[in-house]
Symmetry: C2
Subunit: 575 residues, 2 copies
């Protein structure tokens, strides 16, 4: 039977609890959001004693289901002030699930000014004081812990940014190759830093593994499910060949590639940073064009990007990061962006928030547009060294905007707007405006239908159908985020009628239950409503479901503007 | 007939307009808040093209009425995001009133990156590019303008902080001795800086003066009114002898003097910074214990504080500033505080926000508690020089809290909480929580009745009666802020039944109307409701009418905690 592992950092005690019956059917985002909503006062200080940090693997994590290795992390966000869920690949979800850990809840704040580590085993969590690794980056932490424990140890850690409680700090999770995946958005690393936890090590030895109620049914459904992924042109082929960075040229063509801090919709240097170029560079330097962020991934949208000397530089090198430092900061040098990606992983800072932030920093005159070397310097010497400027930058997009009095600040609920201009891809604008998480493309990835013709087509430049599109996607995503599945399974799910039933069959076979498609939709709705209720308790209103004023300025090449009324946006919540 | 002067900084044009009939009966705060609510979209960026900066003298400004020389300034605040009114003494209110300027409305943003000045005369406003004074402090601006124009020129200006759009930047107004008074709170200086206006010069030559409809009635009422001020033990005597700083020992005795960033309620060094000590130092060094912030002030709560050599150091040296750097930062050196006061005037930064901020900066470890020299250094070398650290500090209390991940951050609606601990003086806590302006002691100064036994007595340590007290005071204050009267006329008004009728008689005699006491109360209510409606439009809810979490910790010596429920606080708005 799965258990709740609980850690109280105020009293430095840990416990193992039964799973309350109303949490039993939940996993991933559904579970972290339910726990945060149940146990955290929405008005609390996100870095204070009353916030809690919750980790939960998905319903299918730890099974043989393809692409089911995502871990959810939830808390009140110090960046947005909203509830936050941020999910990640890597090894931790499958380890937790196999160890029977339904969720790990970390509460309280240490009374003394010391850092600690948590060691998670099947028999519980132990808390130890940590001194050696304090001030170190995530790569050094992983290396040290593999020496201290063994190569198989799971690692969840924060870098210097998290220690310093920067609002853009993320939480790093070791992947199967001892590299880094991130609970990226919303400053979860600052919450972990506030609780003075440098790392969580996971020793899965003796893990009982996941019990499947109906193994035959599971196996059959699993086979169908995997086939729908592999048969899909994007999920099975496009992502594997070019990674998510396939999108640079596509968005540039669509005029939705935000350029020069959201001033234009196309970037002159798009070819130099595109997925196609990246693919060729990787092949030429002996990297890998395919790579999974967790065991069991059959999409392989990650890659290994080597430097000019053929040495490993980075992996998990995503479109949003490449766009953020590329088009958004006018840096057309893929090597510089890859180096920045690696530094951000090491410091432990969200590469979306940080690159969106650099666009505003350039607008503020802190460095000129196009200055990739300047970005590398600011990452290493300012953010990494926790200087005052580093703290402004590490506070994210809104932080720089406030400190320098900038008005062109692309944020919703203080979270930086990623990679898709909401004026020329209007469905994603509805997602940015209404997501319970602040601007978040993954919350309802309308790009699928607005740009990639997945699940039909809704014209990105017209208002019609966008609210409904975003609503359906956000509901589906909240459910998918609860299964432990990668968000990209949405692609086959939208196009292939066999995909979703197979996914539901796997869940039913795993738990011996009988969920229907409607149940899954209801789960998604209920997750969104739970999250929204938390936000209302924290003081958010429909006035916060708005894009920044400057999106009323037309953006080339379509001269598109953001033209939704408040009332039209608010209709999102009519369900 | 009074006129509206309007300046459009986008097109660099100015106009003179008739006063709309529904604004005719308004002045001061009632007028600025009405104009801002009518013309500014509450969701706009406070530093963007759609915010407006409005100046309006009070209903009685420019007359011979005692203490009627207060100018109101309104806008959406970049610090709080709420509507904001901040009023000030100095010469501008009487100049505007005598020139027949009902209000000056400044809108738009210049298209070019240049600074400008406005020159206001009876025939209108002219806009000129300004280069010479950019980067200069307020004292240099006043000196240069008195040379450029003449000694009588009125000056409204911003220092380096306002130019840099720091959220704690204030707007300085020349006083009768060419020193500085401030529209202090809420970052009005950043709004003026965003509109690229370095200064407004006022040439009142040829001003027609204020017409009194019934001069005899006015004179008679004015005499009664002045007598009620002079007869009052605090307004007529206490303030004149010790200034507002008379409060250090009183609040220390009451256990409500926030010390060491609101950790304790009493300060060991209170005697060294008290009004009594200050009085003796002033006398010893040949300063002035009495001084008016505007012509016609008969309370004279200001002073001239000289340095050890007997040279002028500062004036308008208020309790809140002395408390903020004194008890709150544990600096028991009055000379250092006076020097800081002068530097803050020169840079143009709110001395309340800034000293509350330094308490948090000390908590964050930026400098140690008690380090007065460190504060002077940070003011001059960091804030004054616009370094990254200076921008964090200049962003105010909340800015430092966020940049350094501090949880003990005394703000409401992101504005620093002044000088009176809300746990041990509970009425002021209700004012901090509910004021439309963020934490603001002047919005409903319960200290009068909680501590000074003015207008009766409500036990500061008990919850009973505090909501009603704050409500009555906030309504009355909103009305008083509309008359151009100094807030301290509330003292005689609360204790002497002749005071308020005389004030109303003066307004009636001035305009030839027949207001009653009820009308004035209704005006106050209507101002608060107008302001609140703006804030609701900007996304504020009752969840924002709350004190920070840490006030649930008991504070010595009474071990008092903040123990109002949300429901109890929300009852404030039942009128």
């Amino acid at each position: 039977m799965d258990k709740i592992f609980r850690v109280n950092m105020t009293d430095l005690i840990t416990s193992i609890e039964e799973v309350p019956s109303n949490w039993a059917g939940l996993g991933g985002r559904a579970l972290t959001s339910t726990i945060v909503a149940a146990e955290v006062d929405p008005s609390c200080h996100a870095l204070g004693v009353n916030n809690k940090l919750v980790f939960a693997p998905g319903l299918l994590s730890g099974t043989a289901a393809a692409n089911s290795g995502r871990m959810s992390c939830g808390a009140k966000s110090p960046l947005t002030g909203t509830i936050k869920e941020s999910n990640v690949g890597g090894t931790s979800a499958q380890q937790f699930a196999k160890m029977g850990i339904k969720a790990l809840i970390i509460e309280g704040l240490p009374k003394e000014d010391k850092f600690y580590s948590l060691n998670v085993t099947t028999s519980g969590v132990t808390i130890s004081e940590e001194t050696e690794l304090i001030g170190k980056g995530n790569f050094a932490v992983i290396e040290a812990l593999e020496a201290r424990f063994d190569k198989k140890v799971g690692v969840v850690s924060i870098g210097q940014a998290g220690e310093a409680k920067m609002a853009a700090a993320n939480i790093s999770v070791k992947d199967p190759d001892s590299k880094i995946r991130s609970h990226g958005r919303g400053g979860m690393g600052a919450v972990m830093g506030s609780k003075k936890i440098k790392y969580i090590s996971i020793d899965a030895a003796g893990a009982p593994g996941v019990q499947i109620a109906d193994p035959e049914k599971f196996k059959a459904a699993s086979r169908v499910f995997a086939k729908t992924i592999l048969d899909h042109p994007v999920a099975g082929e496009g992502l594997a060949t070019y990674g998510t960075n396939v999108l640079v040229n596509i968005l540039n063509e669509a005029g939705g590639l935000p350029t020069r801090n959201f001033t234009y919709g196309q970037f002159e240097g798009h070819d130099k940073i595109s997925g196609e170029t990246m693919h060729d560079v990787i092949v030429e330097r002996g990297g890998k064009t395919k790579h999974g962020c967790h065991a069991g991934c059959i999409m392989q949208c990650s890659q290994v990007y080597n430097d000019k000397q053929g040495n490993y530089l980075t992996s998990g090198f995503e479109y949003e990061t490449i766009w953020g430092m590329g088009a958004n900061c006018c840096v057309d040098n893929l090597d510089q962006i890859a180096e920045a990606d690696s530094i951000m992983d090491d410091i432990g800072i969200d590469s979306i928030e940080t690159t969106v932030m650099f666009g505003v920093a350039m607008e503020a005159g802190i460095l000129p547009f196009g200055d990739g070397a300047g970005i590398l310097r600011l990452l290493k010497d300012e953010i990494g060294k926790l200087t005052p400027l580093g703290r402004i930058l590490g506070g994210g997009t809104g932080s720089v905007g406030k400190a320098y009095g900038v008005t062109r600040v692309p944020v919703v609920k203080n979270q930086g707007i990623p990679a898709y201009d909401p004026r020329s891809v209007k469905g994603i604008g509805i997602t940015y405006a209404t997501s319970t998480m602040g601007a978040d493309h993954t919350a309802g990835y309308s790009i699928a239908t607005n740009i990639l013709n997945i699940g039909g087509f809704v014209d990105p430049l017209k208002k019609e159908g966008q609210v409904e599109l975003s609503r359906n996607l956000q509901i589906a995503t909240a459910a998918v985020d609860s299964t432990g599945m990668c968000i990209f399974i949405a692609f086959p799910a939208l196009d292939n009628p066999e995909c979703l039933p197979a996914l539901i069959d796997m869940i039913n076979a795993r738990f011996g239950i009988n969920l229907t498609g409607d149940d899954v939709t209801e789960l998604g709705k209920s997750v969104l409503k739970t999250e929204r209720a938390f936000n209302i308790g924290a003081g958010f209103t429909n006035k916060d479901d708005r894009l920044p004023e400057f999106f009323s300025e037309p953006v080339a090449p379509h001269n598109a503007v953001w033209d939704f009324s408040g009332e039209e946006i608010d209709a999102f919540w009519d369900f």
